[in-house]
């Protein structure tokens, strides 16, 4: 009995250690975002120094940061809408159709996600220049759509495969058309999968940095691309940077927690249930 008890304490100890390692950087960022600049370099960190909201005020009122947050929101929402529309339709068709070339199509979809962004960015950059889409939200939406479409198709394909086709068959026998079956029977059956997939696409677009770094300057700049600008030539504005960072990570954090049941499945693109 005593051995079991000791083992339990050790497991708890390990879990608490894990939680500290996970949460410490976030707590540190939060504290520094609320501290006066003279305390940036205190060793150890002055956890109990007076609180100031100057950095948040600065970032939100005297800087263009709200515009970049709004850009993040617009780009992420638009990307999610396009990706979910095209992706869900394609996934439904692929999941319910017996086509000989289906595996080939699915593999082609997957292969579009394998390449590193930096490679595709080279021709995309020239394309964007030629189409006059550098520093445009539309350009960024296109790039993110391309980056997430395969993900959405694969994930939704799995969710459609999980639902029994019998209901759809019955509806079709009753004379409902294919599109009617899709919108009125199939979609309602995968609602939670749909929400989870859309949320994950939104988060990934929101967190995307590389395309934003090279394709945007100011008009279409998103929040991650603005964070490095707090590194000045002579000093780092840690307070401002972490205030901006906290404002930026709040949405993906909340959204991600809301669909936490689906994270394992989502991030392996449906390979694990």
């Amino acid at each position: 009995m005593a051995g079991k008890r000791l083992e339990r304490y050790l497991v708890y100890l390990a879990l608490v250690l894990m939680a500290v390692v996970v949460l410490f950087p976030l707590a540190l960022m939060f504290r520094i975002s609320l501290i006066e600049p003279k305390h940036f370099f205190d060793v150890p960190v002055s956890w109990f120094a007076p609180v100031t909201v100057d950095h948040y005020r600065h970032v939100l009122i005297d800087s263009p940061f709200p515009k970049y947050l709004a850009n993040s929101l617009i780009v992420s929402l638009a990307t999610t809408a396009i990706v979910m529309f095209a992706g869900t339709l394609a996934a439904f068709a692929l999941a319910r159709h017996r086509a000989k070339n289906k595996d080939g199509l699915l593999f082609f979809v997957l292969s579009t996600r394998m390449g590193p962004p930096v490679v595709f960015a080279v021709p995309m950059y020239v394309m964007m220049i030629n189409m006059n889409m550098i520093d445009s939200r539309l350009g960024l939406i296109l790039l993110n759509t391309f980056a997430n479409l395969a993900f959405a198709i694969w994930l939704m394909y799995g969710f459609f495969k999980d639902t029994p086709p019998e209901v759809e068959e019955a509806a079709m026998l009753d004379g409902l058309g294919e599109f009617g079956v899709f919108t009125r029977i199939s979609l309602p059956m995968v609602t939670s999968g749909l929400v989870a997939t859309a949320t994950l696409v939104f988060i990934m677009t929101w967190n995307e940095f590389f395309y934003a770094l090279i394709m945007t300057r100011d008009v279409a700049k998103t929040f991650p691309a603005q964070v490095p600008s707090f590194f000045g030539a002579f000093a780092v504005d840690w307070g401002g940077m972490f205030a901006a960072s906290w404002l930026g990570i709040l949405i993906p954090l909340i959204f991600g927690m809301a669909v936490r049941k689906y994270l394992a499945r989502g991030l392996t693109m449906g390979f694990t249930q």
């Binding site: 060793v43 095209a86 391309f146």
Partner: protein
Amino acid sequence: MVRLSRTFFYSAIAPAFLILLALVIYPTYKVLTYSLMEYKLTKPNASSFVWFHQYAEAFADERFRWALGRSLYFALLSVLLTLVIGYAIAELLRRDDLKGMCFFRSVILVPMLITPLVVGAVFRYMYDYDYGVVNDIIRRIGLQKIPFLGDPFWALHAAVLADVWQWTPFAAIVLLAGLEAMPREPLEAAALDGAGFWQTLWSIKMPLLRPVIGVTVLLRFMDAFREFDKLYILTAGGPGTSSETLSIYVWRQAFQYFNTGYGAAMGVVMLFVINILSTFYVKLSKTLQ
């Protein structure tokens, strides 16, 4: 089986496939073309066709070979650490007989949701030689402080650790799902036979977990191999080129020096490496099964 007409099938997949074709086939064709051209973005009219000259140039370029090695090293180290620590955490999180497990199972998800660039930024603060928390701890336990981001050896490893912080949870939750889906009988039988911890781990759990581990390694490796965000803000490849991976080097050549052609050639090599490695890996795991 529901019978979808061909018309419906093709019109339903049309939007997605048109987007993918336009944004994949054309850029792929373009990147291949550029890789055969000496093309500078700043002087687009002075470009010339040079066949495979730039590929030869890349393989003769010491900085390129170094970057390729750094990318592979970064990915291997990150995947290995992620997997080992992730497995340990999965075993802890499996103890659902304990109170408060719900909290720990939620906490572990947090790092994956944080913008990678922000992760890099906060680690940069924590790694600072003078005021960083990590060096404060190192000094307190009586060791020599480490210039994490200023030292050619440590810079890349510091970035690996940030990557491990962010993605160990991924391995943990995928392995946890694997552990929970595991049949109970073999484990109970092993316990009755008096099998030790390592024995059970090696001869019962590992074989059963192999498919899950396979997927984790493949996805993590491809992600770590192309990691850019955290490296960009932590070291940007420095000091010197000590932590310069392929992603960083291709970005420098193509977007800082505007050597579009050369960047494209190196990018194509990068695609090949990923392709060969993943094919080899899939084959290997199939023969092992």
